[in-house]
Amino acid sequence: MNAITPSAKLHDCRDAFVAVLERLGADNPKIVAVCNDSVGSSKLGGFKARWPERLVNVGIAEQALVGVGAGLANGGLLPFVCGAACFLTGRSLEQIKADIAYSNANVKLIGISSGMAYGELGPTHHSIEDFAWTRVLPNLPVVAPCDSIETAAAVEWAASYDGPVFLRLSRVGVPDLLPTGHIFELGKANLLRDGDAITLIANGTITHRMVKAAAILAEQGIEARVLNMATVRPIDVAAVVAAARDTGAILTAEEHSTFGGLGSAIAEVVVAEAPVPMKILGVPGIFAPTGSAEFLLDEFGMAPAAIAETAIALIARKSSRT
């Protein structure tokens, strides 16, 4: 296959989210947006201007945010509950568990500015625990799209899916990777580049870094497979097992703690189904220092060149096992 080439232009995935939300909202009056004083940061200004009564702002009250969302769904509406991912998941986790996931409320939880997006604001505002917190909950798909195209496709899918969803979006600009017209399928990884030396797996804002790392490896004659794995739960078991068997090593990277996130979900499959050398890149279990999102991601070894170096070291471990 031809390797994916990242677009030169960077996109804020929130724009794709609200564009689809407004397009769907025009045809479906049941769609409402719910927020916690986050109209601006969720980019809901356009939605509010078109349908002021359908923008339900509970104020700075995240427990009510999620509970009210569940009640709106019970009343026959289709709520998109939007808030900064750090507060939406951390402050309201029990509401997400009891009112949304366990009650099977048809609510779409939109975690905005996830990961290190609020880099300089410090660890209170970093949302690098949300994969871990949400993916342990039954009945709650967890999805982190990699670009504006996948974001649009995932929002479209979420609106048509009958059940709760946690969609994790960033505000940090990313290049487009997936082809126009891409259709989102829950629990299905996308092959962005094929290779047999190692598999690089990421989602969200890290996928394009993996694509660039694979290009660096290719310059050295190393062909890496690259998978975009937006769905953290349910994890794509078949793609992980195939990656392990076909390439013999897996390197994951995520804008999340190395504890409990995408890499952990993949490792759970690898140890059970096809043990191979593996490494998980992410925020290494610390409260991060001050810096922009891009700075911090580089700082934690997720610059493309650093990813390529880690991949080479991991590939070396394949041969040392035999």
Binding site: V56, V58, G59, A61, Q63, N74, G75, A98, D99, A105
Partner: protein, 281 residues
Amino acid sequence: MYQCIFIHDEGFMQPNDLDRIAQQIRLRDLQAVFEAGAGHIGGEMSAIDILAALYFRVLRIWPDQPKHPDRDRFVLSKGHVALALYVTLAKRGFIPEEEVATFLKPHSRLNGHPNCNKVPGVETNTGPLGHGLPVAVGMAKAAKLTGAAYRTYVLTGDGEMQEGSNWEAIASAAQFGLDNLTLVIDHNRFQQGASLKDTNNLAPFPAKLEAFGWDVTEINGNAMDEIVPALEKRGSRPHCIVAHTNKGHGISFMQDKVDWHHKVPSAEQYQIAVAELSEAL
């Protein structure tokens, strides 16, 4: 076309009839707690008159159409008294009456806190306290947005009002102008470990709710002739009923005793309680 059958068509039940139904629910609840060896009997006895009034007079519901879009919503936020709700739902025809005997048994759909995906008539899953009122605010807001005529009722415990999430929701309900929402606080004055007074005393409630922009009615929550008009009251603001009740109401030795939050009666106590409740029938 399906047939809508609701009690309103058969004439409104009067307080005397509702009292009798409440006593029958109490008796069945007591029996189920005794047989299961668990339950939250004190708070069940305090709340049962309110449940009987709701399900046998006030709520516009269709037991054979539990998801009917026009149904009134009731949220049992004090989910630990699920058994009282199960007995009421069974008596009202949502679930078979004999199913109450499965309470807490392996794989029964009647566990210690109500599950809306298993038990018809349950609207949302509760158990952790402070969850029902925010969800009820969403239900009432949805009716405002869609023009639906249903009303939303939510029952909380008084100790439960210590949860901050309730006050987030109380503020939102006033802000949204939810005159279609009724909160009933089962004010039995005791929480699990001690009295409210000795724990975190939010009482008296009325001035606090009024300060948030709610209408408040104080009633004897174990007197049907006060419960019914309060539940049927309509105004222009969200409505809170502070229902002064007795923990363990109807069973003399349980009344106002914190121990009976979740104690199970001995065989001897059970016989006394059955005799007292039967006499009231």
